[in-house]
């Protein structure tokens, strides 16, 4: 089993014909993901060609048309920041079940509005934005045959029993790679993104890992700012029963560089790496001393 994406996942790519969309959709298709179509307003009726293999996909003007023609249940978004919120809302309106948003640099004000719409419905879940995406590794060579919805390098994965959830893209790759090198593997790896306002938080993903029978342990990766890690830790203490390893980036980050004066108040003094590490430890999450120890930490817990 896995969470979020599986053999039933049929994907349309919003922004398929752009350069990032084309390259990464091609990589996803080669990995085994069912890329069944794309949406680029004004390019409907054309055919997209995968630059790295012989695959093709039909391009549509709207998400609704794409969904009706292909039976897609998932969308992968590469639309540039000025148009990204509109693209997400179009997918929500078309009742796409899962929308994975890779786009980096969406204004916070746009995400506040998107989030408001998401909170008023139950059909669509959004992962991201500003994230590497979601991957469920397959059992083929170099983990091919799975579902890769995003920009992560597929070949570092391996099918297995560790769930991974992270705010940081490249740190997710670190964790995945270490787990694979140690001879273990992943059920699903999810990047939730590090933006102030996102579609899905730690707790919702942890809840899915808790319910997934194949996930035997997890790695949770956070970073300074906000209080999502503290909230996740409080939730885990009550509801999460599987072994958990953790890591928090930014122990040595200088204070005040990004966070403004008034922003620190709302989180009531939390947001530092030290506070997050303490919250993790109190919740029974074993925190890796360096990011290179994430794999060995979960390995020691699963023995």
């Amino acid at each position: 089993m896995s969470i979020l994406v599986n053999a039933e996942t049929r994907v349309i790519v919003q922004g398929l014909t752009g350069s990032a969309g084309t390259f990464h959709a091609g990589q996803c298709m080669d990995y085994g993901t069912a890329i069944v179509g794309g949406v680029t307003p004004g390019r409907g009726g054309s055919t997209w060609e995968n630059p790295s293999s012989k695959g093709t996909a039909p391009v549509f003007d709207t998400v609704r048309e794409a969904k009706e023609a292909t039976g897609a249940n998932t969308s992968l978004v590469f639309v540039p920041p000025p148009f990204a919120a509109d693209a997400i809302l179009e997918a929500v309106d078309a009742e796409i079940g899962l929308v994975v948003v890779i786009t980096e640099g969406i204004p916070v004000m746009d995400m506040l509005r998107v989030r408001r719409v998401l909170d008023s419905q139950r059909t669509t879940r959004v992962i991201g934005p500003n994230c590497p995406g979601v991957i469920t590794p397959g059992s083929g060579e170099r983990s091919h045959g799975g579902q890769k919805l995003g920009i992560m390098p597929g070949h570092i994965h391996r099918k297995g029993n560790v769930g991974i959830v992270s705010k940081s893209g490249t740190l997710t790759y670190e964790a995945v790679h270490q787990v694979t090198r140690l001879g273990m593997g992943q059920t699903t790896a999810v990047g939730i993104g590090g933006d102030p306002i996102n579609g899905t938080g730690f707790i919702e993903i942890l809840d899915m890992f808790q319910e997934d029978p194949e996930t035997e342990g997890i790695i949770i990766i956070g970073e300074i700012g906000g209080s999502a890690e503290e909230e996740a830790a409080a939730w885990m203490k009550q509801h999460f029963t599987k072994p958990a390893a953790g890591f928090i980036a930014g122990v040595t980050a200088p204070p005040g560089k990004r966070m403004g004066h008034a922003g620190a108040i709302i989180s009531g003094g939390s947001g530092t790496a030290a506070a997050k590490i303490a919250a993790f430890e109190e919740a029974g999450v074993k925190v890796a001393p360096t990011p290179s120890d994430m794999g060995t930490t979960i390995q020691s817990l699963l023995k």
């Binding site: 990464h24 916070v108 003094g269």
Partner: protein, 392 residues
């Protein structure tokens, strides 16, 4: 992105938010003229001379002077302009004052606090008001949180009248002041959304003796992701002298760069990985010279520029390139590193750890370059090696 108080107040006035009359000044002569004009216009001898820097805590550091008459205003301007102010937000090196703002003095009855911020947990814009104005609001939050009142704006319907009243009653405002407060807050909420702010703060917000509510100070931070919507205005408001030269170069190349005190230069992709690379260097006894995230979509030119910025720092005694390619391809990084070293030479040890998309191509480029590069398999191994090598 930060702007100056006088620029923020100009923006406030566009949204009907009352501010004191004021005139920006770049020289002492301009400050004197401003004081003369304000005194003539208002009939009040009292003016305030305020340092314009991108940092709070100016008053305590001597950057704000309330004076009476033109001569006293001149003396204050002479003293503040060209001074380096050290406040709790500037760091120990302080900030050089190059601009002043001269304002009319006001008969103040009460000082309060008002701010709008993005609240990550509530996924809303939060409005915070407090009876404790003119002081460090973080201390109020810690010691007397009951004196801070909060409401959250629903993006679907905007700020509502009952929310404004809730805050006004909390602040204990008179009927007349409440009216003024409501108008001011409505303007600030509109400004916050339309101008894509991440913070809009008024500390202090004052009630005058005749019960007018006025923004005595003004702080605005913009959400830099929204630059594409406000490019013309924001480029005009940006004060380049407030930013470190290397940070400007980096920003213009689309890189996220922060200079630090150590001696190991870092080039990394991804904010989380960049932060934890710094953490790992420190873990093994070294000290990072910078935070540098080249991001996902950086071009080879941007990577070259990033490496050039690191190479040109005298403090750097070793460089650690730590890349886990996803959207970023390893060959682009490798080409950028080679291009920058061809141009500037490489006199310090360089440890490179490449992993992910196009890793074989990237490694081949570095191998064929003939550069003296120490390869590393993992982040920890790379950090350990560069800490050793940087010791010389």
């Amino acid at each position: 992105m930060n702007i100056h108080e006088y620029q923020a107040k100009e923006l406030y006035r566009k949204y009907g938010i009352p501010t004191p009359k004021g005139i920006p000044a770049f020289t002492v002569t301009e400050a004197v003229d401003a004081a003369k004009k304000l005194i003539a216009d208002t009939g009040n001898e009292v003016v305030v001379v305020k340092a314009q820097i991108h940092a709070g805590g100016r008053g305590k550091a001597g950057g704000v002077k309330v004076v009476k008459g033109v001569d006293a205003a001149k003396a204050a301007a002479e003293e503040i302009l060209g001074q380096t102010l050290v406040t709790h937000q500037t760091g120990p090196e302080g900030k050089l004052v190059q601009r002043l703002y001269v304002e009319q003095g006001l008969p103040i009855e009460e000082e309060m606090y008002l701010a709008l911020v993005i609240d990550r947990e509530q996924k809303r814009v939060a409005v915070m008001a407090s009876t404790e104005g003119g002081v460090d609001i973080e201390e109020v939050a810690e010691h007397s949180p009951e004196k801070i009142f909060k409401v959250w704006i629903d993006p679907a319907v905007g700020l509502q009248g009952y929310q404004m009243r809730q805050l006004a009653f909390g602040l204990g405002l008179s009927k007349k002041a409440m009216k003024g407060f409501g108008k001011l807050l409505a303007g600030l909420a509109e400004l916050f959304v339309k101008e894509d702010c991440s913070i809009a703060e008024i500390n202090p917000l004052v009630v005058t003796k005749d019960e007018e509510v006025i923004a005595l100070d003004a702080k605005v931070n913009f959400d830099s992701n929204a630059h594409f919507r406000h490019a013309a205005l924001w480029n005009e408001l940006r004060d380049l002298t407030e930013e470190a030269q290397t940070e400007i170069e980096a920003k213009d190349a689309g890189l996220s760069y922060i200079q630090l005190d150590g001696n190991i230069g870092c080039l990394v992709n991804g904010a989380g990985l960049a932060m934890s690379t710094m953490d790992t260097i420190q873990h093994f006894g070294g000290s990072p010279a910078n935070f540098l995230d080249v991001g996902g979509g950086a071009s080879q030119e941007a990577v070259t520029k990033a490496f050039r910025i690191i190479l040109s720092s005298d403090a750097v005694k070793g460089i650690f390139v730590n890349i886990f390619g996803g959207i970023m391809k390893c060959d682009i990084i490798a080409n950028g590193v080679v291009a920058a070293t061809k141009e500037l030479g490489l006199e310090v040890p360089l440890v490179v750890r490449l992993e992910g998309t196009n890793v074989e191509a990237g490694k081949a480029i570095l191998r064929d370059s003939g550069l003296n590069i120490t390869p590393a398999d993992t982040m920890a191994e790379g950090a350990k090696k560069i800490v050793e090598l940087a010791k010389g």
